[in-house]
């Protein structure tokens, strides 16, 4: 299956399904890095990652609203929805992999890649083949979702999440022009998640009923990730995810008015050693010799599977289930700590971690 430019409502639904998967795919890596930090240490870095993770939840919910608005069915329970880490991102970026790893400089570099802004137009010139932000790159591994194929048969990939959303926005504009807005936004408005059920300070949930609200949601997602018009802040004046993570890498806070890559705020103390030495990209089979760990890892996956089920229900006409689903995230944290505080075996220094192998349970 290949992505191709959006021509039909089905195409649009496929893109939005990918968006939902994409937004979710960032959450396990962020949670793993956050919870690997010894509680009470690295407070500033923890808070930075926490805010990003919460906004990813917002993006996931916005993508679900968009799916409902265009008459699709958000489904977080289908096989393969949770990628097998390490993985490429579902939007087709293939020059880096995203894995589950402890809080480290290397992990922060991956996070920077996830949230990277589009390349400046001039440096993209030679490689980009369309205005969609696609790059011609060599794929090395089987993709979760095969990527874009150009008319000439070249394999093309989105360079950034923002550009992927830009393609969705253009698809919506095109379809509403061709079919009329009412024929695109055919979804049941009662399925929209509204601010009563979801709110956070970094941008409100937007119920989507038409082109205008759809594009507003897309703008919010892109700019929270990558900033507004190449700046480091989004249009609400909040620092974008990319530059938030960069603060951890550089050990310094950005202030209003700062230029990219040159934060001028107070320093952010980081202790890279106050971290549980968790195994990267763990699998259940890694815990074969430690039955308690194995059981805890399976319990975690069962719980997480149920969490995704609750989210799916809440996105399908039972919005009140969102409140208890979010409440369940306390348990995700607790269960993560349980795994991360216990060694895999006596000799090795590494400890357990959630495997997120949801399809195995």
């Amino acid at each position: 299956m290949h992505l191709h430019p959006i021509k039909t409502v089905e195409d649009l639904q496929f893109y939005v399904a990918t968006a939902i998967q994409l937004e979710h795919a960032t959450i396990p890596p962020y949670l793993t890095a956050m919870y690997s930090i010894h509680p009470g240490t690295n407070k500033d870095a923890y808070d930075v990652m926490r805010v990003v993770a919460i906004e990813e939840m917002l993006h996931l919910t916005l993508a679900a609203n968009l799916m409902n608005a265009i008459g699709g069915t958000p489904d977080l329970t289908q096989k393969g929805f949770v990628p097998s880490y390490p993985t490429y991102l579902p939007n087709g970026e293939t020059d880096f992999e995203v894995g589950l790893g402890k809080f480290s400089l290397e992990t922060i570099d991956t996070f920077l890649n996830i949230e990277r802004p589009p390349l400046p137009t001039n440096s993209k010139k030679n490689n980009a083949t369309s205005n969609l932000g696609l790059l011609k790159t060599q794929r090395t591994k089987k993709m979760l979702i095969p990527t874009f194929k150009s008319a000439e048969g070249d394999e093309l990939h989105f360079y950034s999440i923002g550009e992927f959303y830009k393609a969705i926005g253009e698809g919506i504009t095109k379809l509403t022009e061709e079919l009329g807005e009412k024929n695109v936004f055919v979804g049941d408005p009662d399925k929209q998640i509204t601010p009563e059920y979801y709110y956070s300070g970094g941008g409100e949930i937007i119920p989507i009923h038409n082109k205008k609200s759809a594009l507003a949601a897309i703008r919010l997602i892109s700019e929270q990730g990558e900033g507004h018009e190449g700046g480091i802040f989004d249009y609400e004046g909040e620092l974008s995810h990319y530059y938030r993570f960069q603060q951890i890498k550089l050990g310094k806070y950005y202030h209003k008015g700062d230029e990219p890559n040159d934060p001028s705020g107070e320093s952010m103390p980081i202790d890279w050693d106050a971290v549980y030495p968790i195994q990267s990209n763990p699998r259940i089979e890694d815990f074969e010799n430690v039955l308690e760990l194995k059981k805890a890892a399976i319990d975690f996956n069962l719980f997480y599977k149920n969490f995704l089920k609750q989210l799916t229900n809440s996105f399908n006409g039972k919005p009140d289930q969102l409140i208890s689903a979010v409440g369940g995230m306390f348990r995700i944290k607790e269960m993560s700590y349980q795994l991360m505080r216990n060694p895999i075996n006596e000799k090795e220094k590494t400890t357990g971690a959630p495997t997120f192998e949801i399809d195995l349970v």
């Binding site: 808070d47 805010v51 009563e196 956070s200 409440g327």
Partner: protein, 629 residues
Amino acid sequence: MRHKNRIVDHKTAFAKNYDVVIVGSGISGSIIAKELSKKGYDILILEAGPGKDLTLSGYEKYLNNFYSAVSKDNNAPYKRNPNAPMPRSVDVKKLESGKPNTDSYLVQNGPFISDFTYSRVVGGTTMHFESKTPRMLPEDFNILTRYGRGLDWPLKYEELMPYYRKAEFEMGVSGDVSSQTFSNEKAYEDGYVFPMQEMPPSYLDQCVAKKVNGTKINIAGEIRSLKIRTFPQGRNGIPNEDYKKFNNGELFRPVGAVSQHQAEEGERCQGNNNCTPICPVQAKYDARKTLAQALESGCVDILTRTVASRVVIDPVTQKVSAIVCKSYKDLDSKEYTSETITAKLFVLAANAVENARLMLASGLNSSSDLMGRNLMDHPYLLTWGLLPEIAGTTRGTICTSGISDIRNGDFRTEQAAFAVDIHNDGWGWATGSPTTNLEDIVDNKNKFGKDLRNELVHQISKQLLLANMVEMMPDPCNRITVNPKYVDQLGNPRPIVTMQIPEYTMKGIAYARQMSRQIFQRLGAEDYSVYGTDDYGYVKYKGEGYAIRGGNHLAGTHIMGTDATNSVVDAKQKSWDHSNLYLVGAGSMPTIGTSNTTLTLAALCFKSVDAILEDLKHLHSSKQISNQL
């Protein structure tokens, strides 16, 4: 709530000309600063506390102090500060006859010894309050005329209604207006709802309601039926769709954690159990949320580690010309500098005890001699029992429901009204549980491991504590005074408390005790309430003894009234004696009914803002004229 860093150093503060100087950054001071800053006035807030709490990490230090403290009293999160001491319940001792208790910050004369506290940190006492926000009842405003008790207010409930709405918006109230039916008069506008839906009642509340709802009681010959209802609270919940018409068509937007960086926290209550003193996620309102908005305006500076020490009056105009303040170096240091700050207008917003203490320390007893008098609080009687079945005690927030049916009625001619909280944190307030339970199970019952855990659950999740909050009327003999003999480290006089529980209140307390017995009977609960004669709050009344606790709802010390002979301030909280001075907060309240004072004092401050803006306009134009001359 994100905000600018506006903590200024001394040099900056004393070099600047401020329009208004506000003493105290609690809810009163923060509301007034925020509202005046909208009009561009330059404001300085003097704050006695260390001021390290306007960041997320500063707040989290408070949390960690609380978690690691042996005593979980209301001021446990805040380090002891000899330069701006605060009362702590752990310091309270039984009165020895013939001499006052003098060895902690509050000097207590008795005869009643109260363990009331307040907090002297940024955000004031909202930094430990529980955040219940019931309005006072229309009947409370003319209780003297109506029931021959207490004092009438110089303003009517209707006049305060629009300001109550502002206060409910500011504090982000969650609650159910339709259950607030204790008044026989119109208490809310038609169709009014609180900004957010009610906090869901705890499982314990539901267990109690099942058996108690419908219970008939006889109060001074009147038969009433009890009903468990939720309290309105300043705590973030689910925004109410119907509130849009009271908020320019917008859904209410909850205000989250205070931080200099984006925090994404505190937008919704998570059901933690230590609302008092400190919410781990900042879903509970505290005045820093209002202060942060004031600071964000860019017109408000805050000078911390600075204690207002003396109010200076111009002998000709009788206006306040300056405030002398003492700035200390840090908590552990005796070093301080003394400086004088001037402004056009001054607002004392330091709380009922500290406002009076400062005025009295400045020799300003007021022409009515009422400064510091009429000290009120809500005396609490705790009653506790063990339920026959597990009721999930400690699951969820500290208190969501209670009994308010006895807040009003003709019985108030005879005895005090009261309200009852169902405490969801077990017997802690009365007995020190769960620590005391743990000690008993380990030391006396020799349990360990799984048995210990089971026994703990068994004992704690059946605990029911009722906190009966009883009305207390103003009495000029209950008062705050000062004496140069008793001073703190900076040489500021300490408050001396003289307090007696009036018989009217004792009648209410005795009735509350009886009603608890009836409730426990209905629930099949074993009554474990005991009040020892060695308890510092022990009071004997008609053959029965009661241990009474302070409610921290201090009020009345600069009471408002209709003229300079019967009060300290007018209905706008403006001093009768000094035309550029406002004394704000619960100290202005002539009565407190059965409402936790914060919401009402917040409403009064919104009302004062209108008057202060009017004054500033005049001060500004008279200054222009004098410049032209």
